[in-house]
């Protein structure tokens, strides 16, 4: 495993291009495009203001940089560095901006969610989508990029509009039986749309592409409901994580629950492997001590090593009692991710914040629990194989695969607190992001 040096970064804006050749990162108002393998700077662009959001177009030809404060979106071309494009929303303001799947349209969401403007880079035409819903996931594109679903709200009622991305024609428009639609997501096969309600109401609605309601699922009535949702890559399963610390999995044939995955604080099952991160005290040879201590020595003295230990069940995990009187309590399953080959599901229960639960989907049983020393910040599956990368805000990156798990410390002096990570599309490298820096980690084929 090789690590690159640390580079400056701001706003956690580091993205690999979809074709995997380039890496774009932002430092304040500058956009730096590097080569993905050598990290050589290919292009350097300056934007008008501090960049808040960047996104690659689907063909990796363009990058958009959004500056919400100024309400401006700037688009840069990799092919032609002199090409420029600036979209000014003006007084309408800018809250969100994204590419359309064809890479030639930009969708800007204006302030207060007044409208979504569809700007075209090919023609002069502009489209407007009125009454978009101000929710977490209001716009969803199908995987093949053909259709777009937009959540709308008119007269205190929720609607969903399905547009054809090719010509932005409205295909279907229907109302949903939700109190307050919280999010929508297409199934990877592009034929089913899942819509779920706010956490005050546990409800998941499944719509077909042509707008028919296929099924509606409700687990319970009064307690807080859905916290997170994920589709399996084969569209066979829909995993719903809720505030009652459980994940319910629905199957695509009957849209009924096939199992409930519980997240108790004490693990008793004999078949579960529990990896616990333990600190290793650093070993020092006394001869090496010198005064004044060198930098390397100082860092090695104070940096702690850690490794994984296998714990014998029963294991009790570090549990935080949730505060009862606060909104959005840190309870329930807040993170859900299926592995790319559909064989594992990784979850995080927010009141056991240091643990990652890995479920074997083929057996619908808990396979592994990784207990870390600090709170889990982010985890992501390798896009090619069942390998999970986890970061906890320390300078170590944790990798788990069915063969085992490993702790790797990012070399380098100083603090590098990894708060986010992102895999390269080939699965050979990983981008590790901290508040001010980023680093690329190159994985060899044989490892883990």
């Amino acid at each position: 495993m090789n690590f690159s040096e640390l580079f400056k970064l701001s706003g956690l804006l580091g993205r690999f291009s979809p074709d995997g050749k380039c890496l774009a990162s932002c430092v304040q108002h500058r956009l730096v495009v590097r080569d993905a393998s050598s990290l050589q700077i290919l292009h350097l662009y300056s934007c008008m203001d501090q960049i808040q959001y960047i996104e690659w177009s689907s063909d990796s030809q363009f990058i958009l940089c959004a500056m919400y404060k100024r309400g401006i979106v700037q688009v840069w071309s990799l092919e032609q560095s002199e090409w420029y494009c600036k979209i000014d929303e003006g007084s309408a303001g800018l809250v969100a901006s994204c590419w359309s799947p064809d890479g030639r349209h930009i969708l800007n969401t204006t302030e207060f969610h007044l409208r979504i403007t569809v700007w075209s880079l090919c023609t002069k035409s502009v489209s407007y989508i009125k009454y978009p819903k101000a929710c977490q996931q209001g716009v969803a594109f199908t995987k093949d990029g053909r259709y777009m679903a937009v959540a709308e709200r008119r007269d205190c009622k929720d609607f969903i509009s399905i547009f054809v991305c090719r010509n932005w024609q409205l295909l279907r428009h229907f109302d949903t039986e939700t109190q307050d639609l919280f999010g929508i997501e297409w199934a990877p096969n592009g034929c089913v749309l899942a819509a779920w309600d706010t956490c005050l109401e546990y409800k998941v609605l499944l719509y077909s592409l042509d707008g028919r309601l296929l099924s509606s699922y409700r687990a319970y009535e009064w307690p807080l409901g859905i916290k997170s949702i994920a589709w399996s890559p084969s569209s066979q399963f829909l995993a719903i994580g809720s505030f009652d610390e459980k994940v319910r999995i629905l199957n695509h044939v009957t849209w009924k629950k096939i199992t409930e995955l519980e997240h108790p604080a004490v693990i008793t099952s004999k078949k579960t492997i529990v990896y616990k991160e333990v600190e290793k005290s650093p070993t020092l040879g006394t001869e090496r001590l010198s005064f004044p201590p060198t930098r390397a020595l100082a860092s090695s003295l104070f940096s702690t090593q850690s490794k994984y230990d296998i714990c014998q069940v029963p294991v009790s995990l570090h549990y935080i009692k949730p505060v009862a009187d606060k909104a959005n309590p840190k309870v329930g399953v807040g993170m859900l991710a299926f592995s790319a080959d559909n064989s594992f599901l990784a979850t995080k229960n927010d009141n056991i914040p240091n643990a990652v639960w890995i479920w074997d989907i083929r057996k619908l049983k808990l396979a592994v629990v990784l207990e870390q020393l600090y709170t889990i910040q982010c985890f992501q599956w390798d896009p090619c194989q069942p390998r999970l990368a986890v970061c906890t805000g320390s300078s170590r990156v944790y990798l788990w695969s069915p063969a085992g798990c490993v702790v790797v410390k990012v070399p380098g002096e100083g603090d590098f607190q990894i708060v986010s990570l992102s895999w390269h599309s080939s699965g050979d490298s990983m981008l590790l992001l901290s508040k001010d820096h980023f680093c690329v980690c190159y994985l060899e084929r044989e490892e883990v």
């Binding site: 090409w83 494009c85 600036k86 000014d88 007084s91 207060f112 096969n189």
Partner: protein
Amino acid sequence: MGDWRTVTVPLLSSDSKNIFPYTSERKSPTSMSSEVLRLSLPSSKSMHSFFSAFCTEENIEQSISYIDRELTTMGFPSIYAESKGKELDLVSMVNCMNELLVLQHKNLRAQEEIEVQHLKLGSDMDHLQNCYSKLKVQKLQNVISSRATQYNHDMKRKEREYNKLKERLHQLVMNKKDKKLAMEVLNYVGRADGKRGAWRTDKTEARNEEEMYKVLLSDYEQRQKQLLLENTELKKVLQQMKKDIISLLPPQKQKPKERSEDGLVLSDQEEDIGELNKENMWELSCETVREQLTNSIRKQWRMLKNHVEKLDNQVSRGHSGALNEKDVISREDHELETGKLELEIQQCKEMIRTQQQLLQQQLTCDDDTTLLLQDCYLLEERERLQEEWRLFREQKKNFEKERKSFTEAAIRLGLERKAFEEDRGAWLKHQFLSMTADCKSENATTPSAFLRSSDTDHRLVRSSSQQKRPPSVLSTTASPEPCQISQYITQNSVASEKPAADYLPNLWVESDDKEETEECTKTWEDSGLDTLCRNLHMEQLP
């Protein structure tokens, strides 16, 4: 009773009952009134003792006066006959007692009622508490729902206000927007797929619909394919299972098949299924084929289950000892048999081993041992021979006995014969005399045949033997016998002259003679007498 004492009215009970423990302590009625009455109830045993403890022989008067005082304070009439006299008014005393009893009954009833009421109240209390908790929950739920509706209403109101603001803002923004150029671009980029943009028309709408349905249909078709694949796999598995089940079932279980409700129809169905199977028609997913397959598998499985259950029952019955099936051998018997066989095998093996050892010893052992062994063998043989000798001697004795008896019989017979011959001779003589009376020229040769005692015997024998010859023509076997008989008789006669006791055994000691005599006796026994009798008869006839 003790539990409810706190509830009962203390005044009524305490007065009547608590005096007794009190008075038992004091035993002086004068100081009773100044004491505080206790509330504790005495037990029945102590009550009896207190009954006697209150009033004794000595303090009758005091106790009576005390009672009178108490009764009067309670409102009863005095028990004294006069106001100050010592005589008791029996009538009033009896009345007072009765009143007291009535009062007691009333109190008891009241106590019972109160107890019942208490129980009821207790259960009511529990019920109410449950209801209360339920109501509480309901109340809270109602509160939540009312708050939720109120909240929703407020939210909607705020949202409407918000929407109004947004509309207003939107209008303002749109107005402002017209002045500025929103998008600056160097040059318009070609489309990603290289095609030109198209106008939005109805045709495009229709095409969109079409495409959408195509997408949906392809998805459904794919799913259907997957499900079909799964189905065929499962059907294959079911077919395989069916075959396995049929092979597992023993062939005699064909009977229950016929005895099933469908009877012959079932077998037809089975045949159909068989045909269907052969033609690979299971690839069809039509309802009837599916049903038939599942039904047949269910039936086969049920049969297999019954069979296995039967086997289990047999095993359990065999354990308990009752063997009803011929072809099923109970475990114990089986074990016995195997034990026996094993024992037999062991014995045979041992025998073989010993035989081998002996053989080896014979072949490979040295002279001493061989001599010893030979001696052993000789000893064995000697012993055997001795055994045989013993047997032989026994048999000999038996034969001697028999011979004795036979000779005795023969002697008897000879004597009888002698007598008979004498009679015959006499008769012949008589006849002859009668004959010679007719003709006198006869010689004395014939009298020699009959007249002498010893010779006459011989002659008689000879003549009889001679005379016997013509009749012997009739019986061919008789010819050798007379000689033997004559021999025997001569021997007998010779023997009879001598003392019988000593002579007889000597004659028969030698084994050579034994057989002959045996034969003689036998043949004589068998046919000799018969011929004699026949001859006699022959002679008597004319």
